[in-house]
C-alpha cells in the first residue's frame, strides 16, 4: 500500500487500546471507536460547503476545500484552510470523482469527509470507499444509504412496520384483471409508475377503470423505451398532497430522535423553493405520530447521523412515507432556527462517536422560520436558469434574518451547477411575523447581472393562501397558471426613464471633459493660432 490508511496509524491503535480498557465504549457488543475530528474535507461547493466550514471553524476543525476550475474564486474556497483544484467544471470530472476527493483527504491527513447535499452525498459506494480508507464519512453508514436509497428496498423494509406507505402494489403488475381489482381496492385515481422511473417519466394518472388497461400498456412500453425495464407498479394517486418531512438525528449507539417537521409544499418543476418549520397544519399530536414514524424508519435501517424522512400528507392529514434523504438537506436552516441546534455540529459530533447531546424530550419547536431559495432564473420564462456574472449584490440583513450564500459580487453563475444564489431565512416568534419579515428581507436584495426569482418569491408569500397556510404541491400552478409576471409599476417605469436621462447626461458630461487632455493630434494640427 502506498498510502497509509487511518487504520494503521498509531492513533488508531492507541484508541483501540483505550477502548479495551474502557467499557464505556461498548454498546450492544458493537464496537464504537471515538475519534476526535481535527480536519475535514468538504466534498461540495457553494453555499453548503461554506456553511459546513463555518461550523468547523467554530469547533476548531481545519477545513479542506476541493473545487473545480470554475469555482476558484468562490467564497468557500477562500474560507477554507487548504484548497485543492480537482478538475474540470463538469461534475464527473471533479465533485463526482470519488478517487480524487479521497486522494485529497489522504494527502492532507484529513480525518473525515463531509459530503454536503447532492453530488456524492447519497452515493453508498462513495461512503463505502471512504470507510474502507479509514476516513470518517460524516453521514449514515454506507449500508443504511444503500438500503434507504433504493425506493423498492426502502418500502420492503417498512412492510411489517407501523409506517404508513402510499397504498399500492409491491410487486410489478403482470395481470390486468389483478390490476383492476387492486385499483378498485385502493380507489381511483391511481398512479401507474415505472419501477425504474424518475423525473416524471413513465408515470400515468388513471381516473377511471376503463382507462386502466390502456394506461398500463402505454406505461409499460414507455418504461421499456426509457429505462429498458418494463416493470410498472400501481399506487394510490394523492391529489395535491402536501410535502412534509421530518428531520432525524441519530448516534452510533442506537439513539435516534426527530427534530420536528419542515413544510416543503411550495415547489416548481418538482423542486422546493420555499420551506418552513413548523408546518402550519401540523399539530403537536400529528408531529409526534409523524416523528415516531420517522424514527421507526431510521431504527429499521440502523440509521445514524442526520437524515430526513419525507412524507406526503393528504387533505385529511393522513401521511404516507415517501423516501429518506440520507444527508443534510438544503432547507436544514429552518430546523436549526426553531430548535436552536446546529445540525452540522451534531453531525460532526456523532461522527466522532459521541452520543447525542439531547433526548427527544429536550426538543421543542420555538417560533417560526421560513426559507426562500434565491435562484438565478427567469421566473417569467418557465424558471429557465439565468447564467452570467453577478455584477452587483446587496444582501438583506437585520433582525431575524439569516442568509446562507455561496457567491459574492463578481462571481459567476455557471451552466454547470444548480443556479442557487443564496438561501434567505427569516425567523421570529410567529409565522405571521416571519412572513412579513421575509417580505421585508426579500425587498432588500439588489442583484444585478442575472435574472432572479426574488419577485416570484414575493408574489408567492403575498398570496392569501400562503398567509392562511393553505399549501400543497400544486400551489404554484394553481395560483400562477400563466407563470410569474415581473411587471414593473408605472412609478418604477417613470423612475427608469429619469434614471436613464440622468445617466446619459452624466456620461456626456464626462465625455466633454475627456478631450481637454489635448491628445487628439488631428485637431491640434488644424490649430489656427494666428486667428487669436
Amino acid at each position: 500500500m502506498t498510502i497509509k490508511s487511518k487504520g494503521d496509524s498509531i492513533w488508531f491503535r492507541l484508541f483501540h487500546f483505550k477502548r479495551i480498557l474502557s467499557p464505556h465504549f461498548y454498546h450492544n457488543s458493537k464496537e464504537i471507536v471515538k475519534r476526535k475530528i481535527k480536519k475535514i474535507v468538504v466534498a461540495n461547493r457553494g453555499e453548503i460547503a461554506l456553511r459546513i466550514m463555518r461550523t468547523c471553524r467554530e469547533m476548531g476543525i481545519q477545513t479542506v476545500a476541493v473545487y473545480s476550475d470554475v469555482d476558484r474564486m468562490l467564497p468557500f474556497v477562500r474560507f477554507s484552510d487548504k484548497a485543492f483544484c480537482i478538475g474540470a467544471p463538469q461534475p464527473k470530472e471533479s465533485y463526482l470523482d470519488a478517487e480524487k476527493i479521497i486522494d485529497v483527504a489522504k494527502k492532507t491527513n484529513a480525518d473525515a469527509i463531509h459530503p454536503g447535499y447532492g453530488f456524492l452525498s447519497e452515493n453508498s459506494s462513495f461512503a463505502k470507499l471512504v470507510e474502507e480508507n479509514g476516513i470518517i464519512f460524516i453521514g449514515p453508514s454506507s449500508k443504511a444509504i444503500e438500503t434507504l436509497g433504493d425506493k423498492t428496498k426502502a418500502k420492503q423494509l417498512l412492510r411489517n412496520s407501523n409506517v404508513p406507505t402510499v397504498p399500492g402494489t409491491d410487486e410489478p403488475i403482470t395481470d390486468i384483471q389483478q390490476a383492476k381489482i387492486i385499483a378498485k381496492e385502493i380507489s381511483f385515481p391511481v398512479l401507474i409508475k415505472a419501477a425504474a422511473g424518475g423525473g416524471g417519466k413513465g408515470m400515468r394518472i388513471v381516473e377511471r377503470e376503463e382507462e386502466l388497461e390502456d394506461a398500463i400498456r402505454l406505461c409499460q412500453s414507455e418504461a421499456l423505451n426509457s429505462f429498458k425495464d418494463s416493470r410498472v407498479f400501481i399506487e394510490k394517486y394523492l391529489q395535491n398532497p402536501r410535502h412534509i418531512e421530518i428531520q432525524i438525528l441519530g448516534d452510533s449507539y442506537g439513539n435516534i430522535i426527530h427534530l420536528g417537521e419542515r413544510e416543503c409544499s411550495i415547489q416548481r418543476r418538482h423542486q422546493k423553493i420555499i420551506e418552513e418549520s413548523p408546518s402550519p397544519i401540523v399539530t403537536e399530536e400529528l408531529r409526534t405520530r409523524m416523528g415516531n414514524a420517522a424514527v421507526e424508519v431510521a431504527k429499521l435501517a440502523n440509521y445514524s447521523n442526520a437524515g430526513t424522512v419525507e412524507f406526503l400528507v393528504d387533505e385529511k392529514r393522513n401521511f404516507y412515507f415517501l423516501e429518506v434523504n440520507t444527508r443534510l438537506q438544503v432547507e436544514h436552516p429552518v430546523t436549526e432556527l426553531v430548535t436552536g441546534i446546529d445540525l452540522v455540529r451534531e453531525q460532526i459530533r456523532v461522527a466522532e462517536g459521541e452520543k447525542l447531546a439531547f433526548t427527544q424530550s429536550d426538543i421543542s419547536l420555538k417560533g417560526s422560520a421560513i426559507e426562500c431559495r434565491i435562484y438565478a432564473e427567469d421566473s417569467a420564462n418557465n424558471f429557465f436558469p439565468s447564467t452570467g456574472a453577478i455584477n452587483y449584490l446587496h444582501s438583506p440583513s437585520g433582525v431575524g434574518v439569516r442568509e446562507d450564500k455561496g457567491i459574492d459580487e463578481g462571481n459567476e453563475i455557471s451552466i454547470y451547477y444548480d443556479p442557487m444564489i443564496a438561501k434567505l431565512i427569516t425567523y421570529s416568534d410567529s409565522r405571521i411575523t416571519s412572513t412579513k419579515r421575509m417580505k421585508r428581507a426579500l425587498s432588500e436584495y439588489i442583484i444585478d447581472g442575472v435574472q432572479t426569482n426574488i419577485q416570484a418569491c414575493l408574489q408567492i408569500i403575498s398570496q392569501k393562501d400562503f398567509f392562511d397556510g393553505n399549501l400543497d404541491t400544486s400551489f404554484i400552478t394553481k395560483h400562477f397558471p400563466n407563470g410569474f409576471q415581473n411587471e414593473s409599476s408605472e412609478e418604477e417605469k417613470i423612475a427608469a426613464a429619469v434614471f436613464t436621462v440622468l445617466f446619459e447626461k452624466n456620461n456626456s458630461t464626462q465625455n466633454k471633459i475627456k478631450p481637454s487632455n489635448g491628445t487628439n493630434s488631428v485637431w491640434k494640427k488644424k490649430r489656427i493660432g494666428n486667428f487669436r
Partner: protein, 169 residues
Amino acid sequence: MMKSKHNILIEGKNYEVEILDESTLTVNGNVFKYSNADISKKLSTLHLNGKPFESIIRNTDENNYNVLINNKNISVEVVDELSELVNSFQKQDGDRKIFEVKAPMPGLVSRIHIAVGDSISKGMKLLVLEAMKMENDIKSVSEGKVKKVLVSEKLTVEKGQPLVIIAQS
C-alpha cells in the same frame, strides 16, 4: 442648467422627460421634484418627489439600457430627436436615404453655411465647429438636400450630437 427634453421608450410607451432645473423635471407633463445622489456609481439613487429609488443601469446597446429597479429589469430605449426625425422623414420620403451629420467632438457651432432646402454636393462645407481653439469644417458625406438644421450659431454641442439631416435626392 440648460432645459432639455428626452424621449424614453419603455415597453412601447413613450416617456418624455424634461429637466427644468437642478431639482425639477417633468415626465409626460407631470412635475416631479428630484434629487439624485452620485449617478456615476454602480448603484445609483434617485429621489422622485421624496421617494427614493435605487437602480443599476447598464448600457446594452448604443441607445438601449437595462435598468434594474426592485429586482425587476426594465428595458429602456433612448429615442433621440434625430432618430425621431429620421423616422418621420423616412415615412415622407419612402425609400430615399436619410443622412445624419453628427458632431465629431464637443464644440461650439461658429458658422452655418447652409439652410433647409439647399441642394448640396458631396464634400460641401456645411458648418464650422470650433473646439479647443480650432476651427473645423463639417462637410457633407453625400449629395442631397438639407432637410433640417438641428443647431444654430453660437450653440454648444456635445460629441455625437446630430447637426444636420440630409436627404439623398
